[in-house]
C-alpha cells in the first residue's frame, strides 16, 4: 500500500519510525528537503503542502494520505477523496479543525461543552467586547505551536489581539489541562488512550511537560472520555483525534481544541503504551485491527525546546547527563537549526512512581539546554 504524509516534521518522523514495522510504502511532501522526515520515507517530494496542484499531483497515485499538520490544501484533498484516495482524517474534518472559528461553531452545533465565544474580525471589533474579558483571542487561520493565541485579561491587553477573523473565548478557570486521544478505524470502531495531563510554560505558551495517565477522579475521567469520543465521532471520519480539555475548579470538563492527527500529547505512547499513537494511525490507515491503548507503565514527557536567546546550529548541552538516566528515552528530531521555543526533541520517562516521574522531568528540564 502507498501512503503519503503531508508535512515532514517530527510527527512525520515518528510516524515513519513506526511505519517500518509494517510493509507500507511511504511518501512525504514537504518544502524543506532537510526536514526531520525526508530521509525516512521511500519517496520524498519537495513541495508546498498548501498548494492545490502540488498536493493533488502528490496524492493522485497513492492509496491513502494523512497529515501531520492542518495547514494543508483541503481542496486538493477533497478532489483526491472524490477520486478514491482515502484521506485520514477526512478533508471535511480538517476543514472544521483548521479554522478556529469553524471549530468553535462545530462544538456548539454538536452540543460539545466548550467555553462561550464571540467572533471578531478586527481589533476594532475586539475593542467592543471588554465586558467579555478575561478571554483568550485565537486567530482563525494560521496559528500553530502557541502562535496565534493571546490571553486578553483586561483592556490594557487588547492591543495583543489579532486584526483578522478570530475567536474570542471566555477564559476557563482551569484546574487541569488534559488531552485524550481517540482513535476511529474505517469500520467506525473506537479506542481511547488514557488522558495525559499537561503543564505549560507560562512564557512561551508551549507544552512543557506532561504526565500520563492524568491524576483525575473517575468522574472526570468518564466525562473527559465521553466528551472526547463525542468530538471524534461528530467529525465523522476515521483517524486519530487528540482532544485537549480543560477541567475547571468545579470538575466540569470543556473542550479547548482538537488536533485531527498524531499529537504532542501522545509522544509518551511510543514507550509507555502497547500500541503507540503512531502505530495506531498506521493500523487505521492500513485497515488493521485497532491496537491496545493500555499503558505499560505511567509516563512523563519533557519537551526539548530551543533555549531563549539562541538561534543557529543546535547544540544539546547536558545530553550526556540525560542519557545516563536509567528510565529516560531521548528523542531528538534532527532539526539542524534551533530557535527560541522550537520543538527540538522530547524525553520520555517511565515509572510506576509518580514522584520519580516528576523528579526526573524536572532534572531533565534543568540539565538539557538546546543552545547554538
Amino acid at each position: 500500500m502507498k501512503v503519503g504524509i503531508l508535512g515532514g516534521g517530527q510527527l512525520g518522523r515518528m510516524l515513519l519510525q513506526a511505519a517500518a514495522n509494517y510493509t507500507v510504502e511511504t511518501y512525504v511532501l514537504e518544502n524543506d528537503a532537510t526536514c526531520p522526515s525526508a530521509h525516512l520515507c521511500h519517496h520524498f517530494i519537495k513541495g508546498d503542502i498548501k498548494d492545490f496542484e502540488t498536493v493533488y499531483q502528490f496524492g493522485k497515485e497513492l492509496d491513502a494520505l494523512t497529515i501531520e499538520i492542518e495547514a494543508v490544501n483541503i481542496e486538493a484533498l477533497e478532489k483526491l477523496a472524490e477520486e478514491g484516495v482515502k484521506i485520514f482524517p477526512s478533508p471535511s474534518a480538517i476543514r472544521i479543525i483548521k479554522n478556529k472559528i469553524q471549530q468553535k461553531e462545530f462544538y456548539k452545533n454538536n452540543d460539545i461543552p466548550s467555553s462561550n465565544y464571540l467572533i471578531t474580525n478586527s481589533l476594532e471589533e475586539l475593542a467592543k467586547h471588554t465586558d467579555f474579558l478575561p478571554a483568550v483571542h485565537k486567530i482563525g487561520e494560521g496559528g500553530y505551536d502557541g502562535k496565534g493565541v493571546q490571553i486578553i485579561k483586561a483592556i490594557e491587553d487588547l492591543h495583543k489581539g489579532f486584526d483578522a477573523p478570530s475567536v474570542l473565548e471566555k477564559m476557563v478557570d482551569v484546574h487541569k489541562e488534559i488531552a485524550v486521544i481517540v482513535c476511529i478505524n474505517q469500520q467506525g470502531e473506537t479506542a481511547i488512550y488514557p488522558p495525559a495531563e499537561m503543564l505549560f510554560d507560562p512564557i512561551l505558551n508551549l507544552l512543557d511537560y506532561q504526565v500520563s495517565p492524568a491524576r483525575i477522579s473517575e468522574k472526570v475521567l468518564w466525562k473527559a472520555e465521553a466528551i472526547a469520543v463525542r468530538v471524534a465521532k461528530s467529525l465523522q471520519s476515521a483517524g486519530l483525534f487528540a482532544v485537549e480539555l480543560f477541567v475547571d475548579q468545579d470538575q466540569n470538563v470543556w473542550v479547548n481544541e482538537t488536533a485531527p492527527r498524531v499529537h504532542n500529547s501522545g509522544h509518551h505512547t511510543i514507550e509507555g503504551n502497547y500500541s503507540s499513537q503512531y502505530d495506531m494511525l498506521w493500523r487505521i490507515i492500513l485497515n488493521y485491527p485497532l491496537g491496545n491503548t493500555k499503558p505499560i507503565l505511567p509516563a512523563a514527557i519533557v519537551n526539548l525546546l530551543g533555549a531563549p536567546g539562541f538561534s543557529g546550529e543546535a547544540i544539546y548541552e547536558g545530553l550526556e547527563d540525560v542519557l545516563k538516566i536509567d528510565n529516560a528515552f531521548v528523542h531528538l528530531y534532527g532539526k539542524k537549526e534551533t530557535k527560541p521555543g522550537r520543538k527540538m526533541g522530547h524525553v520520555t520517562i517511565l515509572s510506576n512512581d509518580f514522584q520519580e516521574l516528576i523528579f526526573q522531568a524536572h532534572k531533565i528540564k534543568q540539565k538539557l539546554q538546546i543552545v547554538s
Copy 2:
C-alpha cells in the same frame, strides 16, 4: 556525525529506526536497492559489501562504520581504520568471528570454554574422524542463518559435511541454549543484557522463538555472564557482541558462536528493555553513555519465517489475528519476496506471566503463515 552500515537487511532496518532518535546522518551500503534498510537512511549506496574498492569508497568520508553481517571486506575496513574511521566492531574482531575456524581457535587461545574441535579441509579428511562423532560440522567461511552447519551424528551422515575448510565440533549434550549480549563502549565500559533462552526449529535449524530473561539458575547466569564478558573483552573492540551459549546437562556453560553486532537474540529489547540493542549500538558509536539493559517486562519473540513450499511475493496469512493480541508487537521487515525459512519479521510479546508468553508465542506461530 556520519555513520555507515554495511548491509541493508532487517538488522539495519531496526538500527535505522533507532537512529532517528538521535541526530546521526546515516549511510547504507547494500547490493539490493529494495532491501529493508534502503529507504530509512539519509544516503543509500548500491554496492557490494564484499568488494574492497566499494567498501573503501563508501567509508572514506564517514566518521564511523558498523556492520549488520560479517561477510564484508575486512581489508577495506582495516585501511579505513588506519585512516581514522572508527569501525564497530574492529576489523580484527570481525576477522576472528567471520571464519569459524579462527573463531574456535580464538576461544581456545583465550581459555574460553567451547566444545572440542578438529579442523577438516575436505570430505576426505572429515571421513577420518568417525571416532569424533557425534559432532557438528561448520563451514569456515560463508555460513549464515543455519546454512553452512550440519549435524554429523554417525558415519551415514558424513556426506552432509563440507568439502572445504571447516571445523568439526564435539556435540554438546545441550540442556538449554541461551544468548547474552555484551556491550562495550569506547572507554571499555561494559553493559550486559539478561540472557535470552532459545528454542530452535528442528527442521530448518533457524531460531524459532525465544524468551527473556532465560529460566536459568543464578549459578548458570553468573557463569554465562562471566564467559560472555570474557569473549567480548578478548575481542578487544568496542561494539555489541551477542554470545550464543550452550548450557549442558551438568550446568556447564559453553560458547557456541559469537556475533559481533546486533543480533536476532536481542530483537525483544526494542519493547522489552529500557535501552534496546539498537539504541545501545548507537550510544556506543556516538560515544554517548551506555544505556540501561534492564527489562521493562519479560518478553518472548516469535520469528516469522517464510513457510516451506512458498516462494514469491509475500502474503501474511493470519496477520489480523496477531495484530489483535493485546500484548504483541509486530515487526515486518518489508521484504517483497518470501522463501522457505527466510526471516520475514518477528513478533514480540510482553508479559510478567511466563505461561502467557509461551501461550501467545505458540498461538502466533500457528496463526501467522507467510506464503505467496
